[in-house]
């Protein structure tokens, strides 16, 4: 059963329409990726799911309509969004950032346990618990962003270009952890990426966006073998 179902999603900034009727889905515990060049509407798609832009169309999470609801309420349903630019609280400590990630969760009692759990995934954050988040490196901040999202104990994780501006080794590490989280905790993942090779490796389903429309979709395996995709997005 689909955890997230999107049908005919449109979004606009001011008068400019950016998404022209997208339809896609993320399975319960599955990984879906949305590929596309700069300006194709990938980030807007994630923002639309979270109610951060004006939208039209149908968005269902776990069978319930969420289109048009406030971001705070959508997050409280268990959708964690790792935004473009990571959204770090720069002047707060690493631990405070993580506590904020868990803010909307119903039960506060397990906070200490959850902190331990994310420090197991990201030991480097455990070492820097008391540091100001603004002093972390780019890779560490990306890890913090994913860790902050995990503190919500989400059912669906939205990742916006986690590879952006990071060293290949760090990117691989982050993708490895996302895969582990997906397997061990059955968290559904919707990944938006420019790094098509890594995204297709991780995801089961893929959609290709061009100027706000889905131009191709199917199992990641199929897209990877497609000649046009290989030439334009994988570069070999």
């Amino acid at each position: 059963m689909a955890l997230l179902e999107v049908e005919g999603l449109e979004a606009q900034y001011g008068w400019t329409k950016v998404l022209h009727g997208l339809s896609f889905a993320v399975d319960e515990g599955g990984i879906t990726t949305i590929l596309g060049a700069n300006g194709a509407g990938k980030t807007t798609t994630l923002r639309a799911v979270c109610g951060m832009v004006k939208t039209a169309g149908e968005v269902r999470f776990d069978g319930h309509r969420i289109a048009g609801r406030a971001t705070e309420d959508i997050v409280r349903l268990g959708i964690a969004h790792v935004p473009e630019g990571r959204g770090t609280f720069m002047q707060l400590t690493v631990e405070e950032n993580l506590r904020l990630g868990g803010y909307a969760r119903a039960s506060r009692g397990t906070l200490a346990g959850d902190l331990r759990r994310v420090f197991e995934y990201f030991p480097v954050l455990g070492d820097r618990q008391r540091q100001i988040a603004g002093s972390l490196s780019g890779g560490e901040q990306q890890m913090l962003a994913v860790a902050r999202a995990l503190m919500l104990r989400p059912r669906l994780l939205l990742l916006d270009e986690p590879s952006l501006g990071l060293a290949p080794l760090v990117v691989r590490e982050i993708f490895r952890i996302v895969r582990t989280i997906n397997r061990e905790e059955r968290v559904g993942v919707l990944l938006v990426e420019q790094n098509a090779a890594m995204a297709l490796d991780l995801a089961a389903h893929a959609y290709l966006l061009e100027t706000g429309r889905v131009v191709m979709s199917g199992p990641a395996e199929t897209l990877r073998k497609d000649d046009a995709i290989r030439r334009s997005y994988l570069g070999y």
Binding site: T71, E72, V75, R76, T88, L92, E96, R99, L100, G101
Partner: protein
């Protein structure tokens, strides 16, 4: 020497009041980038409410606590009802709304309570307290104590509670805060409520000294601006310390510089603002603001 110590302590007492009001300004400024020009009038209005409650026969501290509660709810209501509709408007619009609020509160207070000065009771004994050879005004020491307790509680609230953390987050990064499920609008409301509460304390502590009248906070708001400018508009601790420094400077200059005396004291506050803006615009503890254009 005795006079010096006396003046310093009394300067700290009024400085604490300036600092409280400066803190209220800074709290709202940090969350919304807006200077709330009505902060002083909100404090004045709360003090009138306290006066009404005391006159109705409530014991001082009961009236004090009730006033804090009313001020908090009032501040929150003002944010939700008056400020929220213009939340996304240009800064100048919000400034005008704040000034409108100032005029309204001032006029309503004058209409309800008249512009005639009223005495306001102090909860502390009138007899000065003697330590060594020096006499201190009991109200000065008491006001300083009350102010410090309030500031300390605020510090603990913001530093150690989840709600305090969420409020700091909402002020720093509203977008990320929403993605954490924080209701940013309400956090701003609570911020206004707390600022109004701190202002109410300042009002009740200063009223026994300056007497109660609708314009009582005018001068004090200018001192508060001087304090916040000196400490840095981006630093809550700096604003409080700035207040204490301004209070002490004001008193010492008034005592030792003959031609200033009591009449020109307010000029000292304006001189402080001017000097800070010329020498170090971000204040002692503030960070220079960087805006992406």
């Amino acid at each position: 020497m005795d006079i010096f110590v006396q003046q310093v302590v009394s300067g700290l007492a009024t400085g604490g009041i300036y600092g409280s009001l400066a803190l209220a300004l800074v709290m709202i400024y940090q969350a919304t980038d807006v200077v709330n020009y009505a902060q002083g009038e909100m404090a004045m209005f709360s003090t009138y409410l306290a006066w009404t409650l005391i006159n109705a026969g409530l014991p001082y501290w009961v009236a004090f606590a009730a006033t804090l509660a009313i001020a908090f709810v009032g501040g929150l209501a003002i944010e939700r009802v008056v400020i929220r509709p213009v939340e996304n408007a240009p800064v100048l619009t919000i400034v005008i709304v704040c000034i409108g609020l100032l005029v309204i509160l001032n006029s309503v207070a004058g209409w309800v309570y008249s512009y005639i000065q009223k005495p306001f009771p102090s909860p502390f004994p009138e007899k000065p307290i003697r330590i060594g050879n020096v006499f201190f005004g009991a109200h000065d020491l008491g006001a300083l104590g009350v102010t410090l307790v309030v500031l300390l509680s605020l510090y603990v609230f913001f530093r150690y509670t989840t709600l305090g953390l969420a409020m700091r987050a909402a002020a720093q990064n509203p977008v990320s805060s929403r993605l954490c499920g924080i209701r940013v609008g309400w956090m701003l409301g609570v911020g206004w409520g707390l600022a109004a509460l701190v202002g109410a304390v300042a009002g009740m502590m200063v009223a026994p000294v300056v007497f109660l009248d609708p314009n009582m906070m005018g001068g004090i708001l200018i001192y508060a601006f001087a304090s916040a400018t000196l400490g840095g508009f981006t630093s809550p601790g700096g604003a409080v310390l700035g207040g204490l420094i301004v209070g002490v400077i004001e008193n010492l200059v008034g005592t030792y510089v003959r031609f200033i005396g009591t009449e020109l004291k307010l000029t000292v506050a304006l001189a402080v603002i001017l000097v800070v803006l010329v020498v170090k615009p971000s204040g002692l503890f503030g960070r220079a603001a960087v805006h992406r254009v």
